[in-house]
């Protein structure tokens, strides 16, 4: 126990520890991991402060900013946001001091070490409920704090994942891969398994800090999805809470390969350790949800579909030697056949996509080649599926898109035995 405490403390530097000690015990803690977010951070910090003061005026609260080593004075911006400004702009009054402290983790944009620091601080301050807000959530309003904290603080849930209002073409990796596979394997219908804004209890926080795996995770990528999986594997009480409109990511976060590395990589990796859990699961359970599970908007947008198709066909042709070592000959042949089809007749069926994903997961488990290479090799195939999704849902309403995603989820569930067969090495 003492060793565990010392290990946690080592995450916190002396100066930060002094700041935490001066804060004392708190009821609520808001974690804000940042890295060069000065342009968008101001309104986010003000909304967090307003949310805490408006909805939790009697609770002891602290905002903790863990910065990756920004060069645009992001931490100064967090510390400089004063309550006086807030009180002038809105009718909120504080009954307690709202602390706001900042530390530098120096890990760049990787959120893993920042989340670890936030959790260690939460454990030290004995916070009953913690929320993590993404600095890119520029659409945040003060009610988000209430929607994230209330299920943990009042209703005793252990982990709150968000649901958002999104454009039907936003978050396609979530809808075409992460949500369906998580639902099929971990048997929980969590719409945002890679949450950028979420909340958790002190109990969950302690459980997280007891895990050795996170202590040694130097890359610090994909911790968000790992937390959700940890909550499921630990049988914690999980719920979803509708927050509002999801902000569009800036260009850097829209890159596919890093996004896959941070989400699909940790998900596949978790299947090794959690095999007894996911292999025994049968039938996905709904998760208690505050507000709508999903809201899709369908305003017209311009998307470069042609390039997606071109990158799929060239990827299938160029990566043949790599795909040969990952996919079964039959699946590879089917993919090569659809790659020969002209754009107008192109169709990447749900069944073929699910077979592709499961074969990638099994190859990842067996490490047939470098695991990072397996994830990278999946990107061109995902582009093919994305192209198919964009074409199929060009004129679809939100409900139609939901129906399409539901059909995909059912295919993932139906074909789960094929993954189990491959996992055992029989195929």
């Amino acid at each position: 126990m003492l060793e565990a405490c010392l290990a946690e403390r080592s995450v916190l530097n002396d100066d930060f520890l002094r700041q935490l000690i001066s804060v004392g015990e708190v009821d609520l803690l808001v974690g804000l991991p940042t890295f060069n977010n000065a342009k968008t951070l101001g309104p986010v910090v003000q909304a967090i402060r307003a949310g805490l003061l408006k909805h939790f005026p009697r609770e002891r609260a602290v905002i903790i900013n863990v910065d990756g080593g920004s060069r645009d004075s992001t931490p100064e911006l967090v510390k400089a946001a004063s309550i006086t400004d807030l009180q002038l702009s809105s009718e909120v009054y504080t009954l307690r001091t709202l602390h706001s402290i900042s530390t530098i983790s120096g890990h760049g944009a990787a959120t893993g070490p920042a989340l670890h620091t936030i959790m260690a601080a939460a454990e030290l301050l004995r916070a009953q409920a913690c929320a993590v807000i993404s600095p890119e959530s520029i659409n945040i309003d003060p009610a988000w704090l209430e929607r994230l904290f209330r299920p943990v603080y009042r209703d005793h849930f252990d982990f709150v994942t968000p649901t958002y209002r999104r454009h039907k073409f936003d978050g396609l990796l979530l809808r075409n891969l992460l949500y369906p596979i998580m639902r099929a394997l971990y048997a929980k219908r969590i719409r945002e398994p890679y949450p950028s804004d979420f909340a958790f209890s002190g109990r969950f926080c302690n459980h997280f800090l007891e895990q050795d795996t996170f202590d040694h995770d130097e890359s610090g990528s994909g911790t968000e999805i790992s937390l959700v999986i940890l909550a499921i594997a630990g049988s914690f009480r999980i719920c979803q809470s509708f927050l509002g409109t999801k902000a569009r990511a800036h260009r850097d976060s829209a890159e596919l390969v890093p996004a896959m590395r941070h989400s699909v990589g940790p998900l596949f990796s978790s299947l090794d350790t959690n095999f007894p859990i996911w292999s025994a699961n049968d039938g996905a359970q709904p998760v208690p949800t505050f507000g709508p599970e999903s809201e899709l908007t369908a305003e017209s947008v311009r998307v470069n579909r042609k390039q997606l198709h071109q990158m799929f066909t060239s990827g299938v042709a160029e990566l043949e030697p790599v795909l040969k070592s990952i996919l079964s000959p039959q699946t590879l042949l089917e993919i090569q056949n659809i790659a020969k089809v002209v754009e107008d007749d192109f169709r990447y069926s749900h069944e073929l996509w699910v077979k592709t994903v499961y074969e990638f997961a099994a190859s990842y488990h067996k490490s047939v080649i470098s695991r990072d290479h397996i994830i990278q090799a999946m990107a061109p195939l995902y582009r093919g599926k994305m192209y198919n999704f964009l074409v199929e849902n060009r004129d679809a309403s939100g409900e139609d898109v939901e129906a399409n995603v539901e059909a995909l989820c059912r295919t993932f569930e139906r074909l789960k035995p094929s993954l189990l067969e491959r996992w055992d090495g029989r195929k």
Partner: protein, 234 residues
């Protein structure tokens, strides 16, 4: 006269018998060493084969691309090959030790040369193996990066990189073995220089259109893309 001939013959026969009597124990010792060496080498072969199977060496060499080369050359799997290599090296070592016991003067120098050459041979084998491993890894890394960056001729780029690394590894191994080291270095320098010059000329002259299209797509396309809506995959 006759007695002299008989005496000489008898002495010669006696010397021959004496030499043979001296040689026979050595021959027997050599045979015993060779047989013991064979048994020890066979035992080592089994141990090495088992250890490599446990360490999934076949999988490693498959990912290094070594298995493909072995299959093409109609050779056994890399685990079997390594086990056989160990068997022959150990048994040859014992056999040569036995030969040294025979006391044949000319052979002793060759025996000591063989033992001096052994570490270099092993180093050469390791250089080639890890060179192949590195070549395959970087080939795949370059191929995936080029495909995901939508670069033209991704496989040509990756194969070129792999070829350079393989040539480098083989030339290093030959240098380690001391086999035609100067020739190999010169040949490598010429081949590498020619490849680079060829690529420069091909891209500069022959591939003017390709270069123009690539640059246009790279820069003009980015500008076009910025006008379009960006969606996050997550």
């Amino acid at each position: 006269m006759w007695q002299l001939i008989v005496g000489e013959l008898t002495r010669a026969m006696q010397e021959l018998v004496q030499d043979f009597a001296h040689f026979l124990p050595r021959l027997l010792a050599m045979l015993v060493i060779a047989v013991l060496g064979w048994a020890f080498a066979y035992f080592l072969k089994i141990v090495v084969r088992g250890a490599l199977r446990l360490a999934k060496f076949d999988k490693l060499s498959e990912s290094a691309g070594a298995n493909q080369l072995l299959t093409k050359a109609a050779l056994p799997s890399s685990t079997e090959l390594m086990a056989r290599l160990v068997f022959w090296v150990v048994w040859m070592g014992f056999f040569l030790l036995g030969v040294e016991v025979l006391g044949v003067v000319g052979l002793q120098e060759y025996v000591s040369r063989f033992f001096l050459f052994l570490p270099r041979l092993l180093a050469g084998v390791f250089i080639v193996f890890f060179g192949l491993l590195a070549a395959t890894f970087f080939y795949r890394a370059a191929l995936l990066a080029a495909v995901n960056a939508n670069l033209p001729s991704a496989r040509v780029l990756a194969v070129s990189l792999r070829t350079i690394i393989v040539i480098l590894a083989v030339s290093m191994a030959f240098e380690e073995l001391g086999l035609a080291d100067r020739t190999i270095i010169v040949a490598f320098a010429i081949a590498f220089g020619a490849l680079m010059l060829g690529l420069a000329i091909a891209f500069g002259l022959g591939g003017q259109d390709l270069a123009r299209r690539f640059l246009e797509r790279r820069f003009l396309h980015d500008k076009q893309e910025q006008k379009q809506d960006e969606f996050s995959p997550l």
